[in-house]
C-alpha cells in the first residue's frame, strides 16, 4: 500500500466567519498530500508532463466529520487505492494530538494523452510501473 502523511496547521486565512476552516479550502490540503505521495513514487507533475500525460481530477468527494479550528494541527494521509485504469487516492485528515478523524476524502484522476488529448482507458505504464500494478 503506497501512502504518505503530511502535517499542517490551520491558518487564519483558512477560516470562515464561523471561525473554522472553510470547506472549500480542503482541496488545498488534499492536493498537498497528493503531491507528497506522487513525489514519493517519483511521478509528480514534472514527471507526468515528461511522460506525455496530464492527469486531470475527474471526481472529488469530501466528508467533513469534525471542523478544524485556528492553529489546530492536523495530519493528512494520502493512499493510492487504485491505479490500473485510473488513479484513485483516498485521504484521511486527523487531529495531530488526539488522532481523531476530522475528514475523509478521495479523488480520482485519469490519464489524458498530452498530444492527442485522448482519454486513456488504461493507466499508462509511466504510472503503473511506479505503483507496481504493471
Amino acid at each position: 500500500m503506497i501512502t504518505t502523511t503530511i502535517t499542517l496547521t490551520a491558518q487564519f486565512y483558512d477560516l470562515d466567519p464561523m471561525g473554522v476552516v472553510w470547506h472549500g479550502h480542503y482541496a488545498r490540503f488534499l492536493e498537498q498530500a497528493r503531491c507528497a505521495l506522487l513525489d514519493k513514487i517519483g511521478y509528480n507533475y514534472v514527471e507526468m508532463q515528461a511522460s506525455g500525460y496530464v492527469w486531470p481530477i475527474v471526481d472529488m468527494q469530501i466528508k467533513y466529520i469534525r471542523p478544524i479550528k485556528f492553529h489546530q494541527d492536523f495530519t493528512v494521509s494520502a493512499t493510492i487505492v487504485e491505479s490500473a485504469n485510473r488513479l484513485k487516492i483516498s485521504y484521511e485528515i486527523k487531529d495531530t494530538i488526539t488522532g481523531e478523524t476530522l475528514t475523509k476524502a478521495h479523488t480520482t484522476q485519469v490519464a489524458v494523452d498530452a498530444t492527442t488529448h485522448e482519454l486513456c482507458l488504461e493507466s499508462p505504464t509511466a504510472l503503473t510501473g511506479k505503483t507496481g500494478v504493471a
Copy 2:
C-alpha cells in the same frame, strides 16, 4: 422544485498551470449558486443565524466532466433535492453558449443548534417552512 441559476466567467486567478480552472476553485462557484438559491427562499446565512442554527457542509462531491477555460462563460444551477432531514443541493455547471454540461456536483448540510451545538436529526421548520416540506 426550488432552483436558481447564476452566470459566471472564468477569471485568470481561477486558472492552474494547465490553463484551465483549478479543480479546488469550483467550491466557490457552488457556494455562490447555493447562496443565490438560499437568498431566493429567504434562508441564507443571516436568516440561518437569526433562526438559531448553523448549517455546516458535511459532504461535497464534484464530478468534473469538461474543463473550464479562461474567459469561458458558464452557468451554475443549484436545486434543492432534499430538505426534510438535511439540506441536499445538486448543481450543474453548463457552458453558457453551447449548453454543454461541464460539471455535476452536490453538497449536503445539516442543522446544528447554535446554542447547544447539537446535531438536528430533522431539519428545523426554519428551513422546511421555506421549502414547503414542513
Copy 3:
C-alpha cells in the same frame, strides 16, 4: 483616460472570522477589474501572449479604508495611469449604494520578452499603440 468599472458582491467565501472580506482576497477583485480594462483596449492575456510579451506584476499596493461585509455590493474601477515604460493601473473600490470609497490600490506590470525573458525598459508598441502613448 482609459478606465472601466465592474460591479461585484461580497460572497461568503470572501469573509474572514471578523465577518469582513479577508484582505488577501482583494487581489482577485483588482485582477477582475484589470482584465475588464485590458479587454476594453484589446490587450488582455490572450493578446499579450500573441504579442510575444508577458506582463508580470512587479508591485501591488492596497490601502484598506473601510471593510467590506457579506452581501455588500461594490464597484471596482481600474484606470491606466502610465503605460510608456510600464503599465501602472490605479483602482478604487466604492460601495455601490453610498458611493463611499472603501479601498484604493495600484498595480505595476512590466513587459518581459517571452522568448528572451528580457525585461523591456520601454513598453512595446503592442501596448502603447492601444493606450495612445506610442
Copy 4:
C-alpha cells in the same frame, strides 16, 4: 529587533498559467509569517481578541522581484518595524537554497477598540508591552 522566519514550498495550487506563484497568493505567505511572529511575542489573534482590540490591515505593499516556481523552497521573514502608533511589519522572501531575495513587502495594522469600534491613535499597551515600546 523582533523577527521570525518560516519556511514554505510552492504548491501546485499556488501556480498560475505562467507556471509561477500567482501574485495574489503572497498575502497568505505574509500572513503565515506574521502569525508566527505574533505567536512569538504572545499577541496573535486569540490574545488580540482577549485584549479587547482587533487589528485590521490598513495597508499592504508587495514588490515582486523574482518569480517563485513549483516545488521551490523559500523562507519568509517577518520583522516588526514600528509598534508605537500602529503595527508595521516588513517581510522578505528568499530562495532557501541560494538566499536570493524574491519579494519584499510590508503590512500596516491599526488597533480598533472591539467594543466602541473606535480607531486607536496610539497602540494599546497590550501590544507595546510585548514589543518593549511601552
